[in-house]
């Protein structure tokens, strides 16, 4: 069974929709800024992706909005855009079975706000009726499945920073195996300060607060850490038969999903595990490494993480394949990143360019051997690979091919 992508949507710090994001990717525009409220809260670095919560009052009823966490709101916007692009109406969803799989690994903001209320009021009832639906890890899929009245598969994939990528990969297999015809897949990430405090405490954030736009610099010799961000991204995947039956425009074909676990340190990356993920994806896609036209790297801008991945890419692809990390502009979108980076890559594929790895000024001893694209470059992309690697050693690689 062939699996195709017929719609995508995104809400991120570099744009609130595909059009805005396309422009940012072309321009190499950073979405990173400073959130000053984090300083008195105890953050070492206040760098973050800057985006605002969408106001959904005109789109959704009170009851629909009440249970939505921050990331569920982002996911509603990206999913609506993806469904519109795919030509899927509510009437279609009412008449046909569709599922939802989202990557999300925490909803810290909603949980902490609820607990703070209980601590203050000493009364659990005062957290309100929506809190439970905001607080669960499955907040995105439970809200969206209800809003869009979906009747297919419905759950959350939690796999650290590979969550969004695995959600698409698992959806891919469910369709390949004939269990579903259509699944709304994606990833979502809250950006409130509660979500990243412990992360900041590990000392892995960039401290380059004097120039936020230059703070996220994957593969650059002078990188000093990651910048977190968030939002949501959605792809509509379906069987080729389903897409053809609907007369849908086919935007790309998912051909490979590779995955592995490092089985090692909880936070340190591992080149072997990453190579395993990439090679399994290539094998499933039935292609050689030189048939990949672009690699969207996981590369978060941490010194060690980027180095291990640079080595993995070098070992598998050699030094010619174009590589960039869109995290140079977006920061690390964590649970959402695997999904957003598929969307970013599909935007590049559709518009014939490679988005730049901004802030790549000086290579280190490994990245100097890679073909890292530092300026937006016109390029025909037939096949792209996108890496996502997370804490706990979870690795995922997706391969998308232009549909023929």
């Amino acid at each position: 069974m062939r699996v195709v992508i017929t719609g995508y949507g995104v809400y991120s710090c570099i744009g609130k929709n595909v059009e805005e994001v396309t422009d940012s990717l072309r321009q190499g525009r950073s979405g990173i800024g400073i959130a000053e409220d984090r300083r008195p809260f105890g953050y070492r670095s206040c760098l973050t992706g800057i985006l605002e919560e969408p106001d959904l009052k005109k789109d959704l009823s009170r009851r629909e909005r009440l249970g939505m966490s921050e990331e569920a709101k982002y996911a509603y916007v990206s999913t609506k855009e993806a469904l519109d692009m795919a030509g899927i109406t509510q009437d279609y969803l009412d008449q046909n079975r569709a599922g939802i799989l989202f990557g999300n690994d925490s909803t810290a903001g909603a949980v902490i706000e609820a607990v703070d209320t209980i601590r203050e009021k000493k009364d659990t009832m005062l957290v309100g009726s929506g809190s439970i639906f905001q607080s669960m890890n499955s907040t995105v899929n439970m809200n969206l499945a209800t809003i869009f009245r979906l009747r297919g598969i419905n759950f959350t994939i939690s796999a650290a920073c590979a969550s969004g990528s695995h959600a698409i990969g698992v959806g891919f297999h469910m369709i390949k195996s004939g269990l579903e015809d259509m699944i709304i897949c994606g990833g979502a990430q809250e950006v409130n300060m509660y979500a990243f405090g412990s992360f900041d405490g590990l000392g892995v954030f960039s401290m380059r607060e004097d120039n936020p736009a230059q703070s996220s610099r994957p593969f650059d010799k002078d990188r000093d850490g990651l910048v977190t961000s968030g939002g949501a991204a959605t792809v509509v995947i379906e069987s080729l038969e389903s897409a053809q039956r609907r007369g849908a425009t086919i935007l790309g074909e998912l051909t490979g999903y590779g995955f592995s676990s490092n089985g090692d340190h909880i936070s340190n990356p591992d080149t072997g595990g990453q190579i395993d993920s990439i090679t399994r994806a290539l094998k499933m896609a039935g292609i050689k490494p030189d048939q990949v036209d672009y690699v969207n790297a996981h590369a978060t801008s941490t010194p060690k993480g980027d180095m291990y991945e640079a080595q993995a890419i070098l070992d598998v692809f050699g030094g010619k394949t174009p590589v960039s990390s869109t995290k140079s502009m977006t920061g690390h979108e964590c649970w959402m990143a695997g999904a957003s980076e598929i969307v970013y890559s599909m935007i590049m594929m559709r518009n014939g360019f490679i988005a730049p790895n901004i802030n790549f000024e000086n290579p280190d001893e490994v990245s100097r051997n890679l073909n890292i694209i530092a300026e937006a470059t016109k390029c025909n992309l037939d096949t792209i690979a996108s890496n996502s690697f997370g804490f706990g050693g979870t690795n995922s690689t997706l391969i998308v091919k232009k549909y023929e």
Partner: protein, 82 residues
């Protein structure tokens, strides 16, 4: 707080919380029909009462409330017993 003040305050937060027009709040109307309340919404009524009047109520308290007038009377009685 007088009954008139209670009615004005209650209508204000009901209209805001449940997104209905103040004009639609007929004192003789059935509370759950007027506000289109489901079982979860009574939790939110408890929250808005606490936040606007500062006293605690429970979901059980609503069992004897049918109309908006009953609701206003209930709030007034809470003040009288405070």
């Amino acid at each position: 707080m007088s009954r008139e003040e209670v009615v004005e305050t209650v209508n204000g937060f009901l209209a805001e919380e449940f997104e209905v027009e103040v004009e639609s709040l007929d004192p003789n109307g059935i509370l759950h029909e007027t506000l289109d309340l489901d079982s979860l919404d009574y939790v939110d009524l408890v929250v808005v009462i606490e936040s606007h009047f500062g006293f605690k109520v429970t979901g059980e308290d609503f069992k004897s409330i049918s109309t908006l007038n009953d609701f206003y009377d209930f709030i007034v009685s809470k003040f009288e017993h405070a």
